[in-house]
């Protein structure tokens, strides 16, 4: 592992190529991910993470393009992780979010990385967490994570952010139903994008009604999720969202809830690493040798699935992090 040290040093000092290489390594290589994160972890903790999610076509990337500018104007160094789905059939992905933010590519204070979901078994969440840490340690103090909020994994990723923004647009029909279960409860800010279109009031009212159920909870916590209207053509049209994000951050910091959220995030991260490591190991095991034969026995009714699982788990204990 000695060969990783120069790369890590370079990344910590801000070299973009090194940062990018580290992100690739944490995506692809379990062992190296461990070594890298152990090494850089003491340098993390400075970044504030904003999750941006919503249905496809809601304009998240265009919004982000403006948010990056607004954040840069206020002196932040901005990291962006834009997540798009991997095709379950081919294993490939077309990552097109970056397209809308491309003007920031040459800004030394911005780092944009596209990531594919890769048919996760907790793999994506782990890779995203690791990538966030690499950007954090390399000096990006504000990190946006953009996901399409349709899969549970994507929801799991954003809900560990410090501020969660849920983006929706008018005209989706049955507005609130279009929002994945679990996201309503998790969002800190709602943005109705493309607010120049018809149907904004309808979305607003539906969101307001859905939020009524959470009324008491918000009163207790001291933060009622605002519903802001945005149009992503101009900075001005996105400013209400930027201001809401800043207000939420102030609230999180002054109320002590940030510490709670980060504790939650740390717990989720450890769980994710455990789940991902085990899932990967099991897949390796079941694909080969003895353990693979067990599956044959299950099919032939010589062994029931629970007993087969038990046998695998007993072998797993010895094989985990060899």
């Amino acid at each position: 592992m000695g060969s990783l040290e120069p790369l890590i040093e370079k990344a910590l000092s801000g070299d973009k190529r090194a940062i990018a290489r580290l992100i690739t390594l944490v995506e692809n290589d379990e062992e190296k991910a461990r070594e890298i994160i152990r090494r850089i972890y003491p340098h993390t903790g400075k970044a504030y993470v904003v999750g941006i999610t919503g249905p496809p076509g809601s304009g998240k990337s265009t919004l982000l393009d403006k948010l990056i500018k607004l954040a840069r104007n206020e002196g932040h160094r901005v990291g962006v992780i834009a997540i798009d789905p991997t095709s379950p059939f081919t294993g490939g992905a077309l990552l097109g979010d970056r397209l809308r933010m491309q003007r920031h590519s040459t800004d030394p204070g911005v780092f944009i990385r596209s990531m594919a979901t890769r048919g996760s078994l907790g793999g994506l969440a782990k890779a995203t967490n690791d990538a966030i840490k690499i950007l954090d340690a390399s000096g990006y103090d504000l990190i946006f994570v953009e996901t399409v909020g349709v899969g549970q994994v994507e929801v799991d990723i954003v809900k560990t952010a410090d501020t969660v923004v849920l983006v929706t647009v008018p005209g989706l029909g049955d507005e609130v139903q279009a929002i994945k279960a679990g996201l309503m409860e998790v969002a800190d800010i709602f943005a109705i994008n493309k607010a120049d279109r018809e149907g904004v009031e309808m979305v607003y009212l539906e969101l307001k009604m859905a939020l009524e159920f959470e009324r008491e909870k918000w009163k207790q916590l001291g933060w009622e999720p605002p519903i802001v209207e945005t149009t992503a053509f101009t900075l001005k049209g996105v400013r209400p969202l930027w201001e809401a994000i800043k207000r939420h951050r102030e609230y999180m910091e002054s109320s002590g809830r940030l510490k709670e959220r980060r504790t939650f995030r740390a717990r989720e991260e450890v769980k994710t690493i455990i789940a991902s490591t085990i899932a990967k190991k099991i897949e390796e095991m079941l694909a080969r040798g003895e353990e693979g034969e067990l599956i044959g026995e299950v099919v032939e009714r010589k062994l029931d699935p629970y007993s087969a699982a038990q046998l695998v788990m007993e072998t797993l204990k010895e094989n985990l992090w060899g």
């Binding site: 973009k16 290489r21 081919t90 490939g92 990552l95 970056r98 491309q102 040459t106």
Partner: protein, 142 residues
């Protein structure tokens, strides 16, 4: 063969050329073949393209030009890549497509473009090329 889903490809359109159907078709074909493809969109400067390659840690760069400016833009892109320590054929596979006359294609191959695909090239040809070409990159050699 290198596992396709671990190979990241940037498809870029430099200059003022707005005809992106070809680029998108190739991008989609590579995705269908299992690669991870980042499409930059149109009107990219060489600097933007190089930054994208760097931040996305791409192993392959596909450049699409139909405007005739290839003998200015492609050498510029390669020069910038080399300045950032990225060597064609060692660190990155570069291919080009669009409207590039054969004489120019020969010149481009001398400075680091691995292959130039003209109109009518089958998608299978492009995919087979990428499959083979990435095997020679430093990072994928054992």
């Amino acid at each position: 063969m290198v596992e396709r889903s671990k190979v990241r490809v940037v498809i870029a359109k430099p200059g003022l050329d707005g005809h992106d159907r070809g680029a998108k078709v190739v991008a989609r074909a590579l995705k269908e073949a299992g690669y991870e493809v980042i499409y930059t969109g149109i009107r990219q400067t060489p600097e933007q393209i190089v930054e994208t390659v760097i931040q996305e840690d791409a192993s392959v760069l596909g450049i699409s030009i139909l405007s005739g400016a290839h003998m200015v833009l492609i050498p510029k892109i390669i020069k910038l890549l080399e300045e950032r320590g990225i060597k064609p054929n060692e660190d990155i596979v570069i291919f080009a497509g669009g409207i590039i006359p054969p004489d120019d294609a020969e010149e481009l191959k001398k400075i680091g473009v691995a292959e130039v695909f003209g109109p009518g090239t089958s998608l299978k040809t492009v995919i087979d090329f990428v499959d083979k070409a990435v095997e020679n990159l430093k990072r994928f050699r054992a």
